[in-house]
Amino acid sequence: MSELTFEKIDQTVLETLKPPDRSYWLTVGILFLGVLTGAACWIYQILTGLGVAGMNNPVAWGTYLINFVFWVGIAHSGTLISAILHLLRAGWRNPIARAAETMTVFAVCIAGLFPFIHLGRVWMVFYMLPVPNQRNLWQNFQSPLMFDVVAISTYLTVSSLFWYTGMLPDLAIIRDRATGVRKKIFKIISLGWTGAHEQWRHYARGYLFFAALATPLVISVHSVVSWDFALGIVPGWHTTIFAPYFVAGAIHSGLAMVLTLMIPIRKLFHYEKIITVNVLENVAKTIIFTGLIVAFSYATEFFMAWYSRNPLEVAIFKYRPTGDYAVGFWIMVICNTMVPLLFFFKRFRTTILWLFVISIFVNIGMWYERYVIIISSVSHDFIPHAWGLYSPSIIEFGIMIGSFCLFFFLYLLFVKHLPSISMTEMKEAVGQGASHAD
């Protein structure tokens, strides 16, 4: 990082915003086709009915809710990196903060789609909003599902505002180097930012408050998501460990997704001098930490089931590693708790290929974690004659593929049109006092 100057940082990041080549548009096009596939599946479900999904009685919560929790989880490390690590003054966060914040915004948008999809009759969504209607029906805010509506809407709003506010100085940099229509667009969206001392005085304070507010928010949001389950009396769900367990799991998956996204971008955009191996190594070290918390949570669940002597709890925790969804369970355990332990060895933390491969394993493992939690509990709850199995239908697979394509589609559009690295924060990290030109 010592080789970097202010000019080099600007040049490197602005270089990424030059008109892309055909391969970029081809990739964007393929992803858009994936988005259309997902949209077509959803439209088919709306026209035909929710029965086209694989959900049944007793498994009424399927991949839509799994993907909802998965994407909310992915969203969490963005705020961890941009807010919590900002408050902790962790300098290594600066090169990846913008990418992580953007990931947060897109992931929350996609997560927010799934309750709509899960509703079936999506036009009834206004029942969840506190607006007067002709039958004078109002929401019951004692339900964790209503907490969710409030929490996710708040999180989307706050993370979007945080993202945009953080980008203002960078938008001004682009404005000052752009020409024509692009200059006009960036002039408007940068709101006339000039970096005057009066602006910085308020901006620095406001940004600090953003970080301070986002920190408890991020913890509350995934706690609220966990209460969707924990406040139900279903065996395997009704436990107080769910909130911290979900928050740690969310950060675990989000950090893995940061690696999955940043490693290809680092290579494609020649960000090697900005996103150094040391930065990726620090993400890997944090993954070890969150992985150990997740492992401890898994073990605690089993211990509490045994210690409680509650036959239903004991039954579900015997069922998970040995029953119908045992493959998912072991994928979850191996990918989330064992594979990240490889990061204890420096060679794995500092080899780009290993970082990427392990991040993919953690992503898969965290998806399966939600699969195991949601499906195994409701398919095998109280009375044996009410037990049932679940497997996603092709429509659910289509929508799931569509959601992943939408995420990467939005992300690809972002990295070529807006600065994927915060130039201002990088300049701060490079240090003040020295001469800043080449």
Binding site: T5, V150, G192, A196, H197, H202, Y203, T424, K427, G433
Partner: protein, 165 residues
């Protein structure tokens, strides 16, 4: 405007201008700078008061919204009181954060006076890159003296309009 590639030189110019007959108008920098803030004796921003006001408004809005909706039908759910403090506190908490952030944004917009495009007329685009710009106003007959002052301090001079250097 004196343009400096070195933050310390910009700070030195600011300190020197303070003891001169010229008037310091504005300082532009590519990063928030503690040294410049100290040299300018900047006070703490008042954005926090907007944030606080938003947060307090948010808590009561959220909590009272939950109370309002619950009391429309007065149904006891899950054995909890109609006005249940713990669940409604969660709604209040989320609204606290949401409205505090709205207050924060409103405070930033109000205090920074954005959007504001006139400031761009007294601005050099290099200040968003790697230059620190110190804008000083002077009388027309002082212009040469001010130019020499900035040059002596190691800066590049840009005359913005009559009187602003």
């Amino acid at each position: 405007m004196g343009l400096f590639t070195d933050e310390n030189r910009a700070v030195s110019a600011i300190e020197a201008v303070k003891g001169s007959p010229w008037q310091l108008r504005r300082v532009h920098s590519p990063i928030p700078s503690h040294k410049i803030s100290e040299a300018l004796n900047l006070k703490k921003s008042k954005v926090g008061w907007f944030t606080l006001a938003g947060g307090i408004t948010g808590f009561f809005s959220g909590f009272l919204l939950a109370v309002f909706t619950a009391t429309q039908w007065n149904l006891i759910v899950s054995g909890k009181p109609v006005v249940a403090l713990v669940p409604f506190f969660i709604v209040g908490f989320e609204f606290t954060i949401l409205f505090a952030v709205f207050g924060n944004v409103a405070g930033l917009i109000h205090q920074m006076q954005l959007p504001e495009f006139k400031g761009l007329e007294e601005y050099d685009p290099r200040c968003s890159g790697h230059h620190f710009g110190v804008t000083v106003s002077c009388k027309a007959d002082d212009l040469e003296g001010l130019k020499h002052f900035f040059q002596d301090k190691g800066g590049e001079v840009k005359v913005i309009s009559n009187g602003f250097v």
